[in-house]
Amino acid sequence: MTTPTTRIGIAPSKLARRVILGIVGFLFAIPILAMIEFTLRKGLVGGYTFDHWTGLFDPANASKYDVVYTGLVNSLMLALVTVGIVLFVLLPTMVLVQLKFPSLRRVLEFICIIPITVPAIVLVVGLAPVYSVVARIFGSSVWTLAFAYGITVLPYAYRTIQSNLGAIDTNTLSEAARSLGASWMSVFWRVLIPNLRRGIMAASFISVAVVLGEFTIASLLSRQNLQTAILLMSQSDPYVAVIIALLALAFVFLLLLLIGWAGAAGNSRRTQNRETT
């Protein structure tokens, strides 16, 4: 006797999946809902209002929230420079290792994974003397923090790019392009980059998400970014601080959705490929 569907191993039933998802979703939703509820409070008088939300976007309050805007601009600039480090340093290095020095792949992987094992506070202790040198060379402008962020995003950026690199036959594609007359530059720009687009996008989005959420390094190296600004603002206007935190969360959530979408698009393309060959 056969059953119409067979479950493999200990895969949960549809109901169990929904219950687990519901519990996890509820646990995640509690603090977010609490934050939203908090931003709508009228203060000690009781009741709810949208004043804190509308006030944030009121031009009359611009000077009051200046620190937040400065922090936001700094964080966006840092995200941009960090993404630049990922794209112009990490990506070419990984491609080079993949094509020319495959024996170094393990070494590169080890180096790139190290930052995830080092707590930010420990990293800062090591970075402090380094930044005294950095400050002498590049000045103490906030963008120099991107050097440290370039290290902290390494594990995430490496993993996403490597999974894409592993999914395409970079060696054969490069050799095919070379045999057709392409220079190494053309191979990189016209063949590899278009096929690594999904990994590059994901690495960039994750880097932006990590940089926007970073507090410890900026705070201990006395630089101002979005997270330090939120902390500052919370001392004078806790409602606005929480609103900014919510908006930052929503932005990061949107980025992760985009990564998921890019990944799903790649997967469906690969599945189609398997079906037709």
């Binding site: 395409i168 036959d169 054969t172 594609l173 050799e175 095919a176 392009a177 070379r178 045999s179 057709l180 007359g181 392409a182 220079s183 053309s186 016209r190 063949v191 278009p194 096929n195 687009r197 393309r269 690969r270 189609q272 490929n273 037709t276 060959t277």
Partner: protein, 363 residues
């Protein structure tokens, strides 16, 4: 870039020779290549005539792919020279060698359509957009893929992808076409179809072609000459008929085709095997005990002769191959015969030897 006189013509039949062959010669001289102390190529020397189709055949690890990749410039050789049409290209980078290559694995650029893939080489040569499109369409038509210009690789079957790869390699009118086991990932029927098309197109264009394969049937079927490789060098190079009928070394004799290895005695230009005398193809064999290789088609089922018992029989399409255990209870002989004879296992049969011993080596 050479070979400018060739033009693609769609669906030309083999032997039409619409364009006179304008291939170039390829000369490999004393090529040596070592991987971590292991010699992949051991002073390999090979000369390919203009317009010739040469297959490099050999077991895994014999160096055939390394030799092809060295010609393409994808491997740096330790010593020796590679010359194309007399020009030394040993130190030229791959993208300057003007060679078309088809790889074993599917190598189409996944982000480009079939047409754009074919256009790629022309784009690298800065050919104008209109000419690019026209030549790419012609090349696709030549490999039987009209109407597939806008298809992506994931929308094509394996055979179609290799056809596009072939069109892409040929559209730039390269001096030499290099094929690195292009059929090995395809199913048997497509493999036969495509190898015949490759030969048709090669004959039509007259392009010098080197074809790496480990499939002897494939090599013998399409090549003008086959180079059998072992341990980084060429054991023997010759026409398929020569290799099959007159192997120069025991390795070639055993690698090409099937053979019965039997003990015999050489004397006075003949060899005596199982009580029968056969002519020697190799005149320089010293008299004395020898090991003899006989093809299954040089043994026949007869009404009288050496007695034996059928132990198995396989239907192979146009012929049947039967293994017979001789009455000495030690010798098993493979016999190739027409399918109308269908001896069952256990049946008593008689064998006689015809033809010649293709290989004889002193014991």
């Amino acid at each position: 870039m050479g070979g400018g006189s060739r033009q693609f013509t769609a669906h030309t039949e083999p032997g039409d020779n619409v364009n006179s062959p304008q291939g170039v010669s390829v000369e490999l001289t004393d090529i040596t290549k070592t991987y971590g102390g292991q010699r992949a190529l051991n002073a390999l020397t090979l000369s390919v005539e203009p317009g010739e189709f040469v297959a490099l055949l050999g077991p895994s690890g014999c160096g055939k792919t390394t030799a092809l990749r060295s010609i393409a410039g994808l491997e740096t050789i330790d010593s020796g020279t590679i010359a194309i049409n007399g020009e030394d290209v040993t130190d030229q980078p791959t993208n300057k060698r003007d060679m078309g290559m088809v790889f074993q694995s599917y190598s189409l650029f996944p982000h480009l359509t079939a047409g754009k893939n074919v256009e790629f080489g022309l784009r690298m040569r800065k050919v104008g957009v209109d000419e690019r499109k026209e030549r790419a369409a012609k090349a696709l038509s030549m490999v039987g893929l009209d109407g597939h210009f806008d298809r992506y690789s994931h929308e094509l079957s394996g055979g179609q992808q290799q056809r596009v790869a072939l069109a892409r390699a040929l559209v730039t009118e390269p001096r030499v076409l290099l094929l690195d086991e292009p059929l090995s990932a395809l199913d048997a029927k497509v493999r036969v179809q495509l190898r015949e098309e490759i030969r048709r197109i090669q004959t039509q264009l007259g392009i010098t072609t080197l074809f790496v394969t480990h499939d002897q049937e494939e090599a013998l079927a399409v090549a003008d000459r086959v180079a059998v490789m072992q341990a980084g060098n060429i054991e023997q190079i010759g026409t398929p008929e020569d290799l099959y009928g007159r192997p120069q070394t025991p390795f070639v004799a055993e690698f090409i085709g099937l053979g019965n290895r039997l003990a015999g005695v050489a004397a006075a230009g003949e060899v005596e095997v199982l009580g029968q005398k056969l002519p020697l193809l190799q005149p320089n064999v010293a008299d004395g005990p020898v090991r003899v290789l006989l093809r299954p088609e040089d043994v026949e089922l007869t009404s009288s002769g050496m007695p034996g018992t059928v132990i198995s029989s396989s239907f192979l399409g146009s012929f049947r191959r039967t293994n017979v255990l001789l009455d000495d209870d030690t010798t098993i002989i493979a016999v190739q015969h027409p399918v109308r004879d269908n001896p069952r296992p256990g049946t008593k049969v008689f064998l006689s030897l015809i033809g010649a011993a293709v290989s004889v080596t002193p014991m």
